[in-house]
Symmetry: C2
Subunit: 333 residues, 2 copies
């Protein structure tokens, strides 16, 4: 659990693309971000209030979050000055970089001296159990994709927000580093030891109110040979009551695998649903989220109408047209 609210460190990010994590936090959890702090030459700007470490501390910030990815995941000397000063002032630090805070001697020393906590969210901090498969109370929804990076995190986040606005109990459950930094907790599933993957998902989505929905962030794809094992563990550990099928229709091949074609949405449903019913016989495919960013609006609407007719399920682009169709479908379960 990372303590909120955050001060978002943008460092010397050359552009907004490099500030993906910080953008995610200010988009999805604006109440967690008291402000931003930048180094000279920084080309990213979230439009948040510019603050010194002292000003943000005064405004209640508890954790300095490295909201930026730089080439090679390095923690540069220019950053270190700010990070160590933050520790000296009583901040915790949180990072999703490949290079770990805990491997930097001077940062570790400052954290120890001043009692700060270092959160390297790429690395599991919990000894997860072996999954026991026992049915849990509450409801769970899992986004599964025809491929990696088709909008599974965005879909679950957007649905959670819409559900909360409607007064439906819902919690986004992060399974990757960006989601963990946005929400302050979660499981970095791709870094968990194989035997404990499904148990980590059970741990992440415990017993809850009967009318509460865990909106579980998906990972990988059953059809992506590099990561399908992680997806499988999410399906069985998550015990989903509902699957949202995610797709990007213009992609030429599976991400990073030129020799592999994407499956159809029908094939995704017919593969994922029987597997999901092993751990939850009541699971249904509730709806479809299409990433239409590479289509004009008319083409996107036509594609969605066609998919709805073919699949007999509500279909939307949750980014472009909102997730409400999908939330309607969950509310009816």
């Amino acid at each position: 659990m990372i303590e909120t609210p955050y001060l978002l460190f943008l460092g010397d990010a050359p552009d907004m693309l490099a500030a993906k994590v910080a953008i995610g936090i200010s988009d999805w959890r604006p109440e967690h971000a008291v402000g931003q702090i930048r180094l000279p030459g920084c080309g990213a700007d979230l439009g948040l209030q510019e603050m010194t470490l002292a000003e943000a501390k005064e405004a209640g910030a508890r954790t300095l979050v490295i909201g930026v990815a730089n080439r090679g995941g390095i923690i540069s000397p220019a950053w270190k000055k700010v990070l160590i000063e933050a520790l000296e002032m009583g901040y915790d630090l949180a990072s999703g970089l490949h290079n770990l805070l805990r491997d930097e001697g001077d940062i570790v020393a400052a954290a120890q001296t001043h009692g700060g906590t270092l959160h390297d969210v790429r690395v599991p901090s919990v000894g997860y159990p072996i999954a026991n498969g026992v049915k849990r109370t509450g409801k769970r929804c899992l986004a599964v994709g025809t491929d990696c990076s088709v909008g599974k995190m965005y879909t679950a986040m957007a649905m959670e927000r819409d559900m909360r606005e409607r007064g439906i109990k819902a919690t986004f459950r992060a399974t990757g580093q960006t989601g963990i930094l946005i929400t302050g907790h979660g499981v970095p599933l791709d870094a968990v030891i194989a035997d404990f993957m499904a148990g980590a998902v059970e741990y992440l989505t415990p017993d809850n109110d009967p009318d509460h929905w865990d909106m579980i962030e998906g990972q990988g794809s059953l059809f992506h040979v590099s990561y399908s094992g992680v997806t499988m563990a999410l399906i069985h550990g998550g015990q989903p009551d509902a699957l949202i099928l995610c797709h990007e229709p213009t992609r030429k091949h599976m991400r990073g695998l030129p020799g592999y074609q994407l499956p159809t949405l029908q094939r995704l449903r017919d593969t994922a649903l029987p597997l999901a019913r092993v751990s939850n016989p009541a699971c249904v495919a509730a709806g479809i989220a299409v990433n239409t960013q590479n289509m004009d609006e008319a083409a996107a609407r036509e594609y969605l109408a066609q998919v709805e007719a073919e699949m007999d399920l509500p279909a939307t682009d949750p980014y472009r047209f909102g997730p409400s169709k999908l939330v309607d479908a969950l509310a009816a379960i």
Copy 2:
């Protein structure tokens, strides 16, 4: 790669059950075992020549293998005397215990002083790549089960032996600690980090002669919610040309999961085969291995005949009736 041949350390094993690893080695790789060494009170006996460390060294032994599991996986003081003496004499040590050799200060010190290698086969010793899904030369066979512990390792080992006797090129590929100690190499798949599971299987089963078969040791089951992610990674990383379906017909529920029933062999085939064809479109279900240890011989034969008729595939208990039917099926591919 663990250097062979071995001297098998049986310690103070109370009975043969505790010596499972040593039995596996002397059954499947008798040429790797120059002898056995026991402590006073040892209740296990492999029938190998009883040797001192010095005698076995003289006979060519390179590695002292801890061939026994004791309660809690502890490395006891009584054992340590022998292990450290072995290091002093130039042996390597190999162990599949939960408690690692590398965590015992005195053993590490002796290994460093005398240049010995410590093999803790539960822990990966390689930085495995992310799977790339590129088609590899050579053929691969994977055993998949309706449940865990239905005889997948035994089936692959027995088939490999039969294939070699027939002059068919075949290599058992170990994915668990017992298999690794038996053959001297492999991947402890359940201890690999999630993102690298399929890549570890690709690493284990590289390009080979077109007529060479990798006989890959299966793990878990697609229907065992605790471990299905590991199975999925084997199916996609292994690119199998042939699946052997493994089953134990008298089991009342999935191992360790009282709420879960075993699937039928039909359901296993219909689930595993389409998934396997994602990475290898030519994959077929080649045959069925049934563990009939809880059935009398007449019942076993009747069951196998019935399964053959229902599934239209050769079926045998490779332990009881030999694996030749399954090898015939592979040879026809």
